[in-house]
Symmetry: C2
Subunit: 341 residues, 2 copies
Amino acid sequence: MELSERKQKILAAVVEQYIKTGEPVGSKVLLDSLDMSVSSATIRNEMSDLVMLGYLDQPHTSAGRVPTHLGYRYYVDNLMKNGELNEETRRLIDAGVETSAGDPERLLEHAGEVLAYLTKCAAVMTTPAGESARIKRVELVPISSRTVMIVLLTSNGILRSKLCRMDMGITTSMCETFYNIADAALIGVPVRNITPAYLQSLAATLGMETLSMFPLLSTVADLSQSAIQSQVMLEGQSNLLHHREYEGRAYELLEFLSREDPLEQLIGQSRSDFEIRIGKENIFPQLENSSLILAKYSIGEDGGGSIGIIGPTRIDYPRLIPSLKYISGLISETMQKALED
Amino acid sequence: MELSERKQKILAAVVEQYIKTGEPVGSKVLLDSLDMSVSSATIRNEMSDLVMLGYLDQPHTSAGRVPTHLGYRYYVDNLMKNGELNEETRRLIDAGVETSAGDPERLLEHAGEVLAYLTKCAAVMTTPAGESARIKRVELVPISSRTVMIVLLTSNGILRSKLCRMDMGITTSMCETFYNIADAALIGVPVRNITPAYLQSLAATLGMETLSMFPLLSTVADLSQSAIQSQVMLEGQSNLLHHREYEGRAYELLEFLSREDPLEQLIGQSRSDFEIRIGKENIFPQLENSSLILAKYSIGEDGGGSIGIIGPTRIDYPRLIPSLKYISGLISETMQKALED
DNA sequence: TTTAGCACTCTTATCATTCGAGTGCTAACT
DNA sequence: AGTTAGCACTCGAATGATAAGAGTGCTAAA
């Protein structure tokens, strides 16, 4: 849909004004902020058209105009000029991220905190996905006579552990057997291949002696399972309460955000490196008044995850997008540096 | 402060009625729920006394009465009869906790979820404190030519890991040296003893060869540090938004809860096994309209942590306390079972 | 000491009124 | 054909008056 230059100018002005004030914007206010040499009546006509086209909405007949999600979309795609990342912000981000290079999860957590602080929105992060990760190491740690802790480490640095309780006492020979099996049939195997079916076939090959191994092996499968699933983290939920648009309606959103499954789904849908989903563009009805901005960070060829912000549709896109892009880039860089060499 | 039996009866009735409805309770309503053979005027007189004594408050001259934090306190200490844990609730708790016996953190998380669901409040949990824990195992896992992951396991089952980046390449001899040091001077040492000072003295004893070990050792110190600190977890924050008393005021509380440090402090203060802090009894002003109910769970002699709920002062104490006690008992039991033998 | 009765207080809901921001339309103008 | 001034109109927000209702405190009698 092509818009005349003047309509574009007006639409941009409405969006920007509304982002700034949160009040429906009328033709008079626009006159000031636009320094065009036209009258308010002309602007009214143009705005009326924009309403027809679906880019603007008016809460009631005698109110100013408010952008629809289509309006925001047009603005974001065609009109918006991304702001510069100011020096102070950059420093803040650097400081937040650099402190915790050693631990991916902590790194993400800190990045989320900074992001939430900067944007006054909620930040979501996913831990690096282990899609193509392989098992790097499996350790057995005796805890008591009948309990061992199994520790699993994957090639992309994910560490998972779980207790496993055995029916009989744990012997060194059992451990040896287990390590043998592990060396032969677990180490180096892609995590996603470690399925119950795989274990079945393993048991068949190895015969009787694996019987006592079964609890251990199935624990390994559990761990593999949980290593694949990238966890979702959330920071700064309470920031959302500051925004007028959620007044009284905050519960639905916060409740939605507090459940991991839908959140995972939400973020998992994304395929591109950078994505903005505005209001009703989101599939989940709980987000129909919110915008999601997602950026991917990457580690090496295959690995990576996402970091993003969730806030009202009336969010300061031009200011926040550069921050998010910078932060995701920095995460990629930092994680890469830690892992590769 | 001794109260006449009738005053006690009235106080109890006011508290219970207010818990049920959230409306200031007047003398008439009390008449019904009290089936005493007195008139409303008598009750009014008594209530007037209770206001003088500080147990009740009235929002304005012609409103009913509302319990003060002293009123709740008197009720909780002297008047309340704990309810029975109903069968369905017990089953729900059992189901929530049993599913994840293998992993202490996950166990707590699930317990918190169930608790939040049952109480419609926020649930807080701390991971088992490692006060007297010892280092059980230290592992070096090469990640790349210059990066190793160090994994620390303590006697109470806490697992921590961190990447450590070295200036020079990692050799097998370095690893051997490290393991030797670890065996000699780390394994079995109480975690809280692993301080920078301890490492200094270690370096002095071992001489030059430890120089290259220093990054590794100080990472071990970091990990020990973080193993000591029991983490605080939070579930069901969004539940709080349901309560009228937080309407419009929710931000302060949620913001407070989202910060780990004060939360840790809050829970750390507790010394007894079971504790109730009502409204202004809390030190933090953000909690002056909230109640905290905390129960300790224990593992063995020394270890343990807390689980509790945070909600409005107008909380259904008699119903929720049994649930909390049951859940904390179950956590103790389950964790114990997993670790000991 | 208790109680009935009653005047009084304060909140809440409702409704009419007003005010003002902003619109849409029309007719005139360039 | 597009633009503009002018004006009637709409709708929400604010204001204020009024009424209803809940609950109290006090007084005088039982």
